[in-house]
Amino acid sequence: MFLPDAMSSLVAPFENIPHVYDLCTQEGNGQEECAMMQEEEWEVLKSIYPDVCVSNDAGPSGRTIKLEIPVELSPAQNVTIVPPQLNTHHQQSASHQSHTHVACPTTTNPLTALPPFLLALILPPEYPLHTPPRITALASTHTWFPSSKIRDLHALLAGMWTSDSQGILYSWVEFLHSGDVLDSLNLSSSTRKNQSASTITIVNQSPSTLLPLLESHDARAQDATFAETSYPCAICLSPYKGRHCVRLACAHVFCRSCLSDFWGSCIAEGDIGRVGCPDPACVKAGHEAGEDDVVRVVQEEEVRRWKWLRTKRALERDPGMIHCPVMFCQTPVPSPKLSEEEDGSGWERLRTCPTCESSFCALCRRTWHGPISECPIRVTDTFVQEYLALSEGDVRRAEIERRWGRANVRRLVEKHEDERKNREWMEKSTMGCPGCGVHVQKSVGCNHMTCAKCKQHFCYRCGERLPPTEPYKHFNTPGLGCFSKLFDYAPGEDEMEWQEIEFGDI
């Protein structure tokens, strides 16, 4: 429908050329002025679109200019690539619209950029006063722009030139760069500026080849834009260019070094619940970073530790998990899934470490001693207790020492003592979380605890589970054992401070 018009405009300016040449020869010199104007136009263009201007060489028939003009799509648009045979049908159908789209399988993700047009042209000595530039080559990278439309594009560009223009290059670049070209050639399915859901349709021999090329170009273009944009890092409060920053899955941007320090310190402390976006909203929502983000931000060694901690955390949620007793291994071994008849048979005590393949008893954590024999630790325990019950210098003590070896007995006694002290200390100075059993020692603050591991709320005084919605009820209900015991002040501590200030100030 637009073809006849376009054809005529394509022909018209070129027909005029001899006439213009005549004008020039008549006037003799406008050439100097033209040369100055060309120089100026090039400088202006270079300052506005530095990346577009590739080269500018003086030649016998005028300046040869090469431009590389990327196409920006704003907002992002999907591109549908149609094979030619479908498109023939498409063009013939008078309605020009989309039932052929349904048949076409290849549509890109929304793109913000298309590969550049390559435009080579010669500025004759009489340009811009009398002659239009002569286009010597016009193509698109990856030939995404349909070859059947190149002629129309030539015509459109030629039609934009008028003899009184101060220079046409900027208008051409803008026309291609802004994507207006797609509207003018009816490649866009609706008015782009008004409708966000519009689609660009282009014809290509091989949609499946072009699609990845367009998408990867878009990704590169977006990376380049990101790298050049400045972002204020909310952690160090300094602005950084995007290439020094990381954009997380939640779209928040931080400078790489801050984020790496932050996550690195969390990983070092084993606090992997905090390895996530530091934005307060993301922190409140408890979003943790995914593996993609973590790998991008921290060192390989830290990634390894982070993964290990994550696996460990997952395993520790299993209350039956036991660490492999082999000193250098310590791999968490999950509890086995048992069939009913196995339960209670003694086999439920068997664990096999997935890393070092040692088999051990879940109860005594020693080498597997079969489902029937009693755990040997109990034997050692009673034997050490017997030994300790005897007074020093007792003959029976010497007997035991002779029998088992003095050094062996000493070692066992030492271990027994250590374990006893450990147990005593744990009982005296810590409280076990009723959710996961981990022991917690309170350094400061109130008796309402939230387990860092399993998020269970509990009372540090009595170990009771507290409802997360109203944990303080436990301390505020008269009659309960912990009523008004939210704080354990050392006796008199609170009162002392009270009185001190009272009297001190009067």
Binding site: C236, C266, P280, Y472, L486, E502
Partner: protein, 218 residues
């Protein structure tokens, strides 16, 4: 210059340049990691007119670990310890994020004064007072603001007593204290016991006099 120092310097400068927020941060000694923040009490609260000072200690791993803050000025508030000034606020603990700054944290403290959370108390006694009788609580909080934070004089108590009124500080009624003092107990002990038992407002009816005497005899 390490990242922590750079950030703290920036934060202090930023606070100095911002005249609109009323938040002040100043050095306490030569160290940039021990600071004093201050802000005016929020309007339409018992803290209005007061000037509140906060002790700020910046830990080595700041901003990855939360800043340590406590009130220097004594505050009568359910989430602030009346004895030590310790603060119960989630962002100073597990909800901390390195994106939060000294200024934004001080603003959070200021808004904590606007909206007490008696179900998450740092000071259980004050929280009890708050839930028993909001009006009596407000009076006490206003009195504390006046005597500790330089707030405007409370009308009811006037300025006829130049020295601090212990009874008002504890949020109690003079008549109640006089009653038990009349039985021969030391005044400061009476105040202490009545305060601990929350002998205020409607709660007075719930506490038998015997119970108080029992406590006084302990």
């Amino acid at each position: 210059m390490d990242a922590r120092l750079r950030r703290v310097n920036k934060e202090i400068a930023d606070c100095k340049n911002d005249k609109s927020s009323n938040i002040k941060i100043e050095l306490v000694d030569a160290s940039p990691f021990h600071l004093k923040g201050s802000f005016p009490g929020p309007q339409d609260t018992p803290y209005e007119g007061g000037h509140f000072e906060v002790d700020i200690v910046i830990p080595d791993s700041y901003p990855f670990q939360p800043v340590k803050m406590k009130f220097i000025t004594k505050v009568y508030h359910p989430n602030i310890s009346s004895a030590s000034g310790a603060i119960c606020l989630d962002i100073l603990k597990d909800a901390w994020s390195p994106v939060l700054t000294l200024k934004s944290t001080l603003i959070s403290l200021q808004s904590l004064l606007c909206s007490p959370e008696p179900n998450d108390p740092q000071d259980a006694e004050v929280a009890k007072h708050y839930t028993t009788s909001k009006r009596s609580f407000d009076e006490t909080a206003r009195y504390w603001t006046q005597i500790y934070a330089g707030g405007p004089a409370v009308k009811k108590m006037e300025v006829k007593e130049p020295q601090k009124d212990e009874i008002a500080i504890a949020g109690l009624e003079k008549a109640h204290v006089d009653q038990f003092e009349g039985l021969g107990f030391e005044r400061s002990k009476v105040i202490d016991v009545l305060r601990r038992l929350n002998y205020r407002g409607a709660n007075v009816a719930n506490i038998a006099e015997d119970r108080i005497v029992e406590e006084l005899l302990k």
